[in-house]
Symmetry: C2
Subunit: 215 residues, 2 copies
Amino acid sequence: MNRTNRTELRRLPNRGSHEWTAIYDILDAGFLAHVGFQVNDQPVVIPTLYGRAGEKLYLHGSAASRMLGELEKGMPACVTVTLVDGLVLARSAFHHSMNYRSVVAFGTARKLADEGPKSSALRIISEHLIRGRWDDVRTPTDKELKATSVLEFQIEEASAKVRQGPPLDGEEDLGLPVWAGVVPLRLQPGTPVPDSRLAPEIALPSYLKSFADKH
Amino acid sequence: MNRTNRTELRRLPNRGSHEWTAIYDILDAGFLAHVGFQVNDQPVVIPTLYGRAGEKLYLHGSAASRMLGELEKGMPACVTVTLVDGLVLARSAFHHSMNYRSVVAFGTARKLADEGPKSSALRIISEHLIRGRWDDVRTPTDKELKATSVLEFQIEEASAKVRQGPPLDGEEDLGLPVWAGVVPLRLQPGTPVPDSRLAPEIALPSYLKSFADKH
């Protein structure tokens, strides 16, 4: 992987990593990315779902999407994925922090025009989100594929940043009568809510049960 | 509020809003922002905590932070906050979606240099995250304040986007034998983990109990 000062880990190099495995672990645990790009001197950050295959991320949306329309021009973009793991409460305001895992990935995107690669990419995004879903649903028609824009974002450079563990108060503050510790946070699935028009004989598929267990 | 084509809601205007109340509700329900800015033709997106007072957002970090150092130059920036509410599973791949609330805010930041405004802003960030915490902890020393950079981001323009509710399959797909509905998702606090060096007589404060109840 290239490494320029774009991803130089300046402040806390011990919290950072350029290792692909660390980067992939985070990208594979998340599903929501924040994509940054520039439109007429204005940075824009848009949330979007994604999927991954190797060093490529797949983004999709309406063919009329402004974000995808801009990105497919091949301009430099940034895809950031952040997983929140907890609030770190120290005895001092100064040492409060957040436990998290994040990846900042730089690269450029190109539009997938042909039906084959487009379908494959949609499958990757779907399976990334909920493994097993794609084979269960009605796949896209030609018309639906045309109405969908799919982009392949090539990661040219990326870094991972992780903060875990307890608060790190200074020795002099340890005696303060203040509760200190970590409040874990987790994006948790609730009980699935069936569509009101779902036939009662259609049971919750097993891949959705294991989705709830996994998260 | 100004409104230019930066926040023009192109694709699904019925999902969007320029109302301040809608925007504030989302900003106040979230605590993690993704901040976008440009460094040498490269867009960069960094996750960070924030607080809000009126049309201003407050960001903080190490005085050595690259992001804050860039933003305080007053360049155009974008602050995006996304709350994930659920996965929307349709009978067709095409109609899958996500329930979410998001705000995209454009503006510029300036550094708070004086101790007074700096301290007030840190209090706003802290109270935004966990109300009641600031008055409980040791507040920053002069040295700690100097080591902290605090920015005030003036929202010049913003839009909110919300998607809620069940999947919207076409009539022709309603009879397919596929489970459809919503898997709710929520960032949920777990049981607080006390620091290993916490004196056993220090109980969990009530504001942390209500934090867990609120989320």
